[in-house]
Assembly symmetry: C2
Homo-oligomer: 243 residues x 2
C-alpha cells in the first residue's frame, strides 16, 4: 500500500526542492514505478508569513487552505507543509480538507525526544514569527523541555540571514552567520538544536555544531516516506502524532 503525498510548498521554493530531492533519495527504488507519488504545490505567491503574523501583510491562511483543497482534489491522501512558520495556519488548512495533515512541528518534537532522550533544554533556530507564535514551545512543554531561543540581536540576525537564503545566497558568509547563531544556543546550554525553519538545513549541517542538530526537513522527509509507504499510522485530525 502506498499513499499519495500532497506537499504545500514554495515557502520558499529552495526548501521545497531540498525536500523533494531528499524524499527521492530516501525512497530510492530500483524500478521507477516503485517510487512514491508526490503532488507538490510550489506556490511562492502565498503572502509572507512573517509579515502577516506581525500585522504587516495579508494572512496566508486562505491561500494555504486553497492549496490544500487543490492537492486533495488532485488525489493527495495526506498533506505535509515544507515550512515551519506557516504551521501557525494549520487550523485553516485542516478546516479546508478531509485528509490528514502531518504537522512538521509535532514530528520534529517527537524526533528530537527520540534522538536526545534526556534533553532538558533545546535550542531553536527559527523565524521571529515562529518563535513568537510559540509553535515549538507549546509542543515541547508537555515533555518538560524548555526552549533556548536567540536573543534580540540573534533574532534580527536570523531574519536577515533567512532572507539572504530565500534570495538564493547560500555562500560562506551566510553559512558562518547561521553557524554562529547555532553555537550561541549551544553555549547557552542547549542539549540539542532544532533547525526549525526549512531554510536552515540549506546552510547548516550536523558537523557545524557541537550538539545534535535535528533538521525539521529531514524529519519530515523520513516521516513522509513512512506514511506514504504505509509503515506508520497517519495522525488523526487533532494533529496528534503517534509516538
Amino acid at each position: 500500500m502506498t499513499r499519495t503525498v500532497g506537499v504545500l510548498g514554495g515557502l520558499g521554493p529552495d526548501a521545497t526542492l531540498d525536500f523533494f530531492a531528499k524524499v527521492l533519495r530516501a525512497s530510492r527504488a530500483e524500478r521507477e514505478q516503485d517510487h512514491l507519488r508526490l503532488l507538490i504545490d510550489n506556490n511562492p505567491q502565498v503572502p509572507d508569513r512573517n509579515a502577516a503574523l506581525t500585522g504587516r501583510g495579508a494572512s496566508p491562511g486562505p491561500a494555504l487552505a486553497g492549496m490544500a483543497r487543490g492537492l486533495e482534489a488532485a488525489g493527495a491522501d495526506f498533506l505535509v507543509m515544507v515550512c515551519n512558520t506557516a504551521h501557525a495556519y494549520q487550523a485553516d488548512i485542516e478546516a479546508a480538507v478531509r485528509v490528514p495533515f502531518v504537522s512538521l512541528i509535532d514530528e520534529t518534537v517527537h524526533a528530537t525526544l527520540r534522538a536526545v532522550p534526556g534533553a532538558r533544554a533545546v535550542g531553536l533556530l527559527a523565524t521571529t514569527t515562529c518563535l513568537d507564535a510559540g509553535l515549538y514551545q507549546r509542543a515541547f512543554a508537555p515533555h518538560g523541555v524548555r526552549m533556548i531561543e536567540p536573543d534580540a540581536a540573534g533574532r534580527a540576525r536570523f531574519m536577515e540571514v533567512l532572507y539572504r537564503i530565500k534570495a538564493g545566497d547560500t555562500g560562506a558568509a551566510v553559512r558562518a552567520d547561521m553557524r554562529a547563531l547555532g553555537l550561541a544556543l549551544a553555549d547557552a546550554g542547549a542539549d540539542a538544536l532544532v533547525a526549525g525553519c526549512t531554510e536552515v538545513p540549506l546552510v547548516l549541517g550536523a558537523a557545524d555544531v557541537p550538539v545534535p542538530l535535528i533538521s525539521s526537513t529531514d524529519v519530515l522527509v523520513e516521516r513522509t516516506v513512512q506514511y506514504a509507504r504505509g509503515l506508520a499510522p497517519l495522525p488523526t485530525r487533532s494533529t496528534e502524532v503517534p509516538s
Copy 2:
C-alpha cells in the same frame, strides 16, 4: 501577469527534480513572492511508456489524462510534461483538459532550428519507443531536417543506460556510455544532437560532444518560464508552437 504551471512528472522522478531545480534557477527572484507557482504531479506509478508502446504493458494514457485533470482542477493555467517518450500520449492529455499543453517535442525542434539554423541532419538520443513513435522525426520533417538515429546496438545500449540512470546511477561508466552514443551520432554526420530524453542531461553535457547539444529539459525550462511570465503566447490546442 504570471501563469501557474502544471507539471506532469515522475517519468522519472530524477528528471522532474532536475526540471524543478532548473526552473528555480532560471526564474530566480529577489523576493520569494516573485517566484513562479508550479503544480507538480510527480507520479512514477504511471505505467512504463516503453513497455506499453511495445505491447508489453498497460497504456499510460488514462493515468496521464487523470494527472492532467488533477493539475487543471488544482489551478494550472497550462501543462508541460517532463518526458519525451510520453508525448506519444499527448492526445489523451489534451482530450482530458481545457488548458493548453506545451509540447516538449515541438519546443525542442524549434529551439534546435533557432540554435543551429543551417542544420540538415540532427542526431537523436532518445528511447527506442520515442524513436519508433516518430515523435521527433515528424516534427523535424517539415523543416527539411533528417534524423540520425543510433543503430540497433546503439538503441539497445541507450535503453540499458537509461534504466541505470532511472535506478539512480549517474556515475562515470554511465556518463562514458552516453557520451559514446552521442559521439557516434556526431561521427555519422549530425550537425547537432538532441537530448530527446529527460534522463540524458543528467549524465551528458554540452562539453561532452563536438556538436551543439540541445537539451530538451533546458528548452522546456526556458519556455516554461517564458509562458509562465506571460512573455510568449501559449500554443493553441493544435499543439502548434509560435515560432
